[in-house]
Symmetry: D2
Subunit: 494 residues, 4 copies
């Protein structure tokens, strides 16, 4: 991973020296297990252990040898055996094959890296929950299809992020636990020579691992694939959270914005820009994660008891996938922690929606009233739809501007000048428009004059009753619309 | 492909009967080529041709035979030979292997489907160019990073779509022409028996194809991969166009919207919704296209002179990729044709941006003036940045609302009520703010009181000169800002 | 899915009529839950239920309506309400939005399709276990890197397939259980109108589902992604099994072969061919599965409370992924059930390997003996390596043929004729070569004459002891080499 | 890229200092172009150029600034301006935005890296062509579906690799030329301020580039996608070549092998192993390339005039894709250069195929003869199929061994011992089997006794004619079977 995005702990875990020490631990665990099985003496074990620990691996020597023998584990054996008394050399890597050493070591590396991810997930959750609580009553207009829909609290939107990440998190934890499985079962996976199932069990236990029965020379990569898949899920979910932040930060009525430093510059050309570079980066990073995960899952098919296609992929894609996941978690934790929230713009959006934020309840309210009068439920839908189109129709200069098609740039100048001077049009709302029975036909919807007249007549009648109007107005209050939201906070913040 | 998205021409080309006829044509072409080479008589050819054309393939018979012999081309030979006189049977599929028949037939199918795509691309281009012309002088505020940036005409945005699709189109045309290559070179691709390079050339020519030299039993799939890749490019570009339309249609200041039918319903719950379902679907379809292309490119590795992994993939992914591409072209042509455009909202956005739409030119203007006074260019940047932050700062009720954190839903009700009644705040612009030297420090940017004071003092001095102010104001006119855009129209609409 | 590969049960589950009935069940479940909550009367519920069940959905009517309103769920409501008395119409789809209906219905579809997969997995396992048992003592030469390695029983190879598929299976079962979660929480997922968490719980329970808390308008797609991922895992593992079968069937010493029908034809050109078309197809199908899974996982990012990109992808990729998975399971069950196994060729391979099948044990044996004499362990490795190269070196005509480079085709003719007449060379084995101390230097390995002389001298000395020779010979017996294998049968066949 | 696989030239091109110098060149090109347009003086240009070249970029200073302003190009401007006289500072990066600098610089980087690939492709081609020539008359048994098929020369197999790579190469060259296009068109791509199409053209020309008209703030990523796609094609084709080498090296009758070092060790456990680690690695690397290409193609959709998702992906995936491509080219050139070829084993395979290597010609020969006698062409097929099954049927001990199912390991010991002592069975060939009319029914094929009898009777009659037998025997000669192959050498080695 390039330094810009690299995680230093992941780098340390994947360093050559750390790998050689993990291999050494795996070799020692086999010898120790053999001691327990009576195949070697404790003295020999201690002697080997001391020799090796006194002489830490020489990475450069090892690399040179690898160039020669073209086999990194064989080179490691040669490097290590240099320090073992000749008569004990055959004990080191006795009866085993490379992957009896490499697999358990790899499992240890996975577990270390997974611990980093788990911690970062916890950190993200703490911040996300805190922010959700802070904004439990900060009301906003939620969107579906990019369009203004209905109210929710900003806090409750964060709950959906928490819920979504929870799914990915639990997939991850289960996948990480699969990585505790490993194997020390010989070149074909069916033991042989001095290896036995019991020796395998003992040696793995020493390393904090458990046996996977039925492996070949290597662990089947299907056992590691879920880890890659679950890391991708985490990244995809974080990408979705980032996407929501970016969408919320779009100019117009921005409702939130990722942190922007006091010395930061958004653009080299346009000084006013506050670009959402962090959250946009998350989309790119999720793309990377998706690619790495695909590479790793593609490692499942291998020839017979093994071939080595997966090796180059794993040397690159595993560390890089962890780097990216941790980077995303760290950035998004920072983004949520420092999130700028604009409740004023949330309110402006609600006002600008002209009562349509309660169109669902309005329609249901009318449908019930109409059905009591034997009128089809669909009429309620059509009334509210038409009212919404009515109140959102531009008026005055802005109606003219909608039709304008300038034919040269000076027309455009003039039009912009007029716009700068134009007055803000009145903001009608369906809350009052419908009870006042002022529906009129619009070109965009199929409704005849007669239809519309009949709608208005129904509405006049309906809202002549003051208690109906009172009940109607209640529909437009957050306290009514959000009355069940607390349940989600209780469920998800516990 | 499911009926909902299927293209009927693609279905016809990929029908069983059309395939069997293509195979028959390939077989006949080989016999005819052999006539030319003197290996068979013209009479025998005519006799076989007549026999086959008089008796069109019986698809059901063929399928039953395929179940028996487990080889669809062998079953086809059996089906067809039924109608050939016994003494001529050995002429049919003589010296050839299955893929001497199937490859040229497949090439013909590719060429047919590519012709459909080319036509649809032309149709899209016509509509896109017409709309670009229509909106050449309709000014809008273009966005980068979702943030308001600088002006452009809406027409010029369409030009970027045209330019982008042009790249994909030219990749596609070049990939399609690769599919004119095929092979009739025997079971191992090195001729043998009665096959010769000259016979191959002749037979392919009869089919409108040219030889690919160095194939194995089959065409190397790398020759077809570019077609899949280029179809993906088309779909990705259409997906980008659709994305821009969706983004433009977001509630707030929507600048355009995909067509919405007069009887259409946006949501079963919220009657006011006009959802961008077509353009959102395009994102999903680009995802499908990406998947199909990946499957097809993955067909390149095959064992030695062939193995048959690619067959199942190609039976599914080729037609489906064409279905999706044609569906996307047809939907997006419809969307652009019926696009609702809202110049009024474009103007509202420009006004709401409070002069920042010219912050680039403003900064350059100041930088030049300052450098004349020996002041670092960066100061110009900092002045415009601060001014932008100043004019966009909320005031009055809205400033209070920004800080509000309600603690229960009744607080929220009250706040919304206040918002509904709040007056629209004055809309300051950097166009006037900067010359009037009213900069003030803000918490969001690092600039000390002293800095700001010095900025104001510079500005006062600078703008005391009326000609400076005059030149400054010119920067904010579309006719100045867009003076070079016509060049792009000339280049891309020709 | 094209008919060639389609599963009829999956087709039925995804038919229009089945979908509309699932939607109807979801709508009825909400009404029934409302009855329990006291919001509607049982009589009204029964009346609606009877009306709908008496009049099954009219798919054609529904499609026409969908064309008109551009919203399939709205069209469904219109279609169904036709049969509901006007005064009860508002009860149908009351307070809910499309995905309060579609999500639970989709969950039901998932569960049905998952049940098919689970059953097919069980069927595969039964056959695989039976075959493993049959071949528990049928010895073969296992390969790593395509090269002959060490012995195993053919049965134990099947155990590795079982173990590998077990991982995928358990991922699948856990992912399938995630699909029991659903939501009926209104247009923004925060309830509202008449919806409550309790109503959601009740309605879902009626449908055999449980609530997912914190969804938006739709279930977060991360909850379904693991299902796609796990189906891919199943397909990848089956692809690996198929790959092993294909590799085993390669001409030379084929050890097994997929079933070949009595009337089957392998090639239209070459009558002797028995092609591994089924197992090769599996590789293609795994490619398809990988593509579909990628499309579905890419559905996770969506805008805010929803956008509809995922819809087109899911309409296509979910059924097709299930079709492919079930096809693969069915084909591979058939392949394993009818697998032709060739123990004679397995034995021929072992013999042809010239004792190298025990080179691991041979090396360990020597290493121990040498270390007792204070000789480095690595010498044992070098001795066995050289011996292997010695015994595999071609002799006689074959040694000449290795160097031959014919310069025209008639040379080639002659060479082939000689080969046809050449005698089979003696097959030396390291089992006897090493004790007889006949090592000689070869160009391919770095070992000086002095080295080799010293090796021979060590060996002479070592094997002068008869008990050493006796112990050595034991190493080459299957009963010694496979003595721990039974453990795997006990673990994996239980 | 990890050091193990990194290409040092790609590393140099992508180093920070090289990037900053490319940016500097792009900035200088704009100033120089402005000089030509009369917007700046040549003296000012020279002064700035001198100042910058005298003071090379300070990478550490730049990095620290980037941390502060969160914008790497802005940090670069600040770093560079330090050395420019205050009054000329506004000339540096005047009127331009970041990507007016970064895009042309990126194009230059692409062109450099593409030149490396082109050179490596040439190197590979030279070696591949030389080897093809060397083995023009070295005959082997080509396989389809892993099964022995027909003869070809080993050289002609290499021709298919050349032909396949040629396709990828030509896609690559065309994609690389697309990267010569760039843009200097301002923040929204429509010029503005002091930028003009003419200035863009001039500045790009200075850099060896040409304008792309219709870009936004950035080049549309569809212009770079073909490069990623074509690099993937190269890698996939190399992966296919590697696959053929691995398959050819499988134990049994290995026909070739990747180079194996004189000190190399194939396995830590099994000294006899010569593993195909290089060619297997190629499969993994093609997997990586496929992932990187997918990431890069996914960069096409971006928001409006730009968002920055693509940046992180490109920082990683472009260099890594080039590293992998170059690594694969270098390894495969080495593999082909040092390829061990075993003509002896090729001959053994042909002999072992027992005449079936000419089954195609044999079938065609008989079909013609039979059709002259009014017998259906299909009978010829059935005769050759049955003969092939006859001659390949095991006999003697080996026939018994095929049926053996040992019930314990000692049975297995015994069986292996018998096999070691068993005599080699006679190798019948269809070349003699068919003329001698010795066909007999086999369980594996549907053919009644009567059928077989009639086949034998036909054959007896047919081959009673000596000239028929003579013609028949000719079919089995390489000089007959490969008589057209020279054409491919002429076409592909020219």
């Amino acid at each position: 991973m390039i330094p810009r995005y690299a995680n230093k702990d992941v780098n340390a875990i994947n360093s050559d020296v750390a790998k050689l020490l993990r291999w050494q631990n795996a070799e020692l665990a086999v010898i120790l297990a053999r001691v327990k099985a009576g195949g070697t003496t404790a003295t020999d074990y201690e002697c080997i252990k001391l020799a090796l620990e006194t002489n830490p691996p020489d990475v450069e020597w090892w690399k040179r040898r690898d160039d020669e023998v073209g086999h990194d584990l064989n080179a490691f054996i040669d490097e290590r055996r240099r320090f073992i008394p000749t008569e004990l050399q055959s004990e080191f890597h006795r009866d085993t094959t490379s992957f009896d050493t490499e697999e358990p070591a790899q499992a240890r590396a996975f577990l270390h890296m997974c611990a980093l991810v788990e911690k970062a997930l916890d950190g993200f959750n703490v911040v996300c929950k805190r922010q959700a609580q802070t904004y439990q009553f900060t009301v906003m207009l939620e969107r579906t299809h990019g369009q203004w829909g209905k109210l929710r609290s900003f806090g409750s939107r964060l709950l959906t992020w928490i819920a979504e990440l929870n799914v990915a998190r639990s997939q991850f934890l289960s996948a990480a636990s699969l990585c505790k499985q490993s194997r020390i079962a010989g070149a074909m996976g069916n033991y042989g020579g001095g290896l036995t199932p019991e020796l395998e069990r003992q040696a793995l236990q020493i390393l904090g691992l458990v046996p996977f029965h039925g492996a070949t020379q290597i662990m089947p990569r299907v056992a590691y694939a879920p880890l890659a898949q679950s890391l991708q899920l985490i990244c995809e979910v974080l990408g979705k959270v980032a996407l929501d932040v970016r969408l919320g930060a779009r100019s117009g009525y921005p409702i939130c914005h990722e942190p922007f430093g006091k010395k930061q510059k958004g653009s080299s050309a346009m000084p006013h820009k506050k670009n959402t570079i962090l959250t946009e980066q998350m989309t790119g990073m999720a793309r990377l994660a998706s690619g790495y995960a695909a590479m790793l899952v593609a490692n499942i098919p291998t020839w017979e008891a093994r071939s080595i296609e997966q090796s180059s992929v794993e040397r690159i894609a595993w560390p890089d996938l962890f780097h990216i996941t941790l980077r995303m978690l760290s950035v998004m934790t920072r983004v949520l922690h420092g999130l700028a929230v604009y409740p004023d713009n949330m309110l402006r959006e609600i006002v600008e929606s002209r009562g349509t934020y309660a169109s669902d309840e309005a329609k249901n309210f009318l449908a019930l009233k109409l059905s009591e009068r034997g009128i089809e439920a669909d009429v309620a839908y059509r009334i509210v739809q038409l009212a919404a189109f009515n109140v959102l129709k531009p008026t005055g200069f802005w109606a003219e501007a909608r039709q304008a098609t300038p034919l040269e740039l000076f027309d455009t100048d003039r039009l912009l000048q007029q716009a700068k001077n134009a007055s803000t049009p009145p903001a009608y709302s369906i809350q009052t428009w419908i009870p006042s029975a002022r529906l009129f036909p619009v070109a965009e919807l199929e409704a005849s004059n007669d239809d519309v007249e009949s709608y208005n007549s129904i509405l006049s009648q309906l809202f002549s009753d003051q208690s109906t109007l009172h009940a109607w107005n209640k529909l437009f209050n957050p306290s009514y619309l959000l009355k069940e939201e607390h349940f989600l906070f209780e469920k998800l913040l516990k």
